[in-house]
Symmetry: C2
Amino acid sequence: MVEHKLTLGLLTENEWLAGLPSQATERLIQAAKVRRFKENQSVQAKGAPADGLYGVLSGEVRVSATSFAGDEIVFTRILPGQWFGEIALLDGGPRTHDAHALIESELAILPKKVVMDLCFSFPEVYRAMVLLLCGHCRQAFTAVDDLLVCSPEQRLARRLLQRSTDSKRLNIEISQQELGSLIGISRQSTNKILKSWESKGFIVRVYRGLEIINIDALRAVI
Amino acid sequence: MVEHKLTLGLLTENEWLAGLPSQATERLIQAAKVRRFKENQSVQAKGAPADGLYGVLSGEVRVSATSFAGDEIVFTRILPGQWFGEIALLDGGPRTHDAHALIESELAILPKKVVMDLCFSFPEVYRAMVLLLCGHCRQAFTAVDDLLVCSPEQRLARRLLQRSTDSKRLNIEISQQELGSLIGISRQSTNKILKSWESKGFIVRVYRGLEIINIDALRAVI
DNA sequence: GCTAGACTGTCAACAGCTTTACAGTTGTCC
DNA sequence: GGACAACTGTAAAGCTGTTGACAGTCTAGC
């Protein structure tokens, strides 16, 4: 009961499910499970088969991979209202990434079978999946672009700006370690860049985070 | 007439269209246009609106982007039998990349409206689009992974191996310049790596290309 | 409040890649 | 077959980011 209310809340907020035929929406809400994950608990493992589509109700999920050297490579973070895990669900292949709850989080899980059935019954559901997929694909393309073309400083600026528009807030809570991993540089280099920005008045740093003061100056870095 | 025969040839060879309901296949073949592109001719420009889905019938297409510094960043090459351009088609956004004919090439073009209409009539068509999309998405994820985790030498090996399995051949025709651009390193560095591999007997280099001799040794590099 | 553990600041040494530069090679087009 | 353009080979110089090391700072939990 409580679970369904929570799911509904996310669904009505979120555009992709709001536009579906009511029959499909109902079926999804009915089949949706809500699961709570503790801080650092694994949501899915890279290489595993897909069981469902995940939506973040509360908390935050870190999507990452582990290099053979053992370092964790952070790809992105999923904020409340966002969905992930559609690729392996749709193509039947293995999960592309690891996912962990960054903090205690609640996730909605739409079982694979239900989603796939609805895809075949309602083209609108397929369309919604396709849009989700396209978004993640464009995100990945942008990441490749950035890595090939942009300097570490520019990449860092892009990430921060992207993140601040995603969450509509200008304070970002993340360690320098993880921030570096997101854009493929070391903690020390991240620190140096952040320091230089702070001295220019673009940001202020706090423990385990930062706040953007001059967003236009950051945009100009790019 | 000739055009339709060519298209049909590609379609029947290619798995994704072969599995569709015959009604959908017929409609696609009927609507397909074949267009010939000269060497270096632009197929699509990054940022442009999408007009259709492209399939390579003959020749080869280079997918790239241009950095603000003016360098061309090569993303990938599309070989005969492969399709591209589905993202902008499906989500209505701008083209994600530039595409040029590498050599004189023939492309099949499936008009946007026809594809989208069929998607809504036949879930199988949507499914085919989704699989295409998933493939490209996984490709992009792998590229990010590589850039963040692997050394230039490993990235180069991966690219060559991927390419050689794609085309089932072990001689690859590409300049060191472009090869470097594909994995984000300079021509000189590419040259150094190739030379070292040649001295170890992994490959032999020729003008504007190379041949893989010891494919297992290359696999071991990764 | 104290302490352990996580995070940050900083620096020097080092490695790897780029850039610049130039000479040599190969292919193509008159 | 000669000339030009594209490609390759090579090396030195310089830059940028990494690594490793260690001290300082912050926070949570007892």
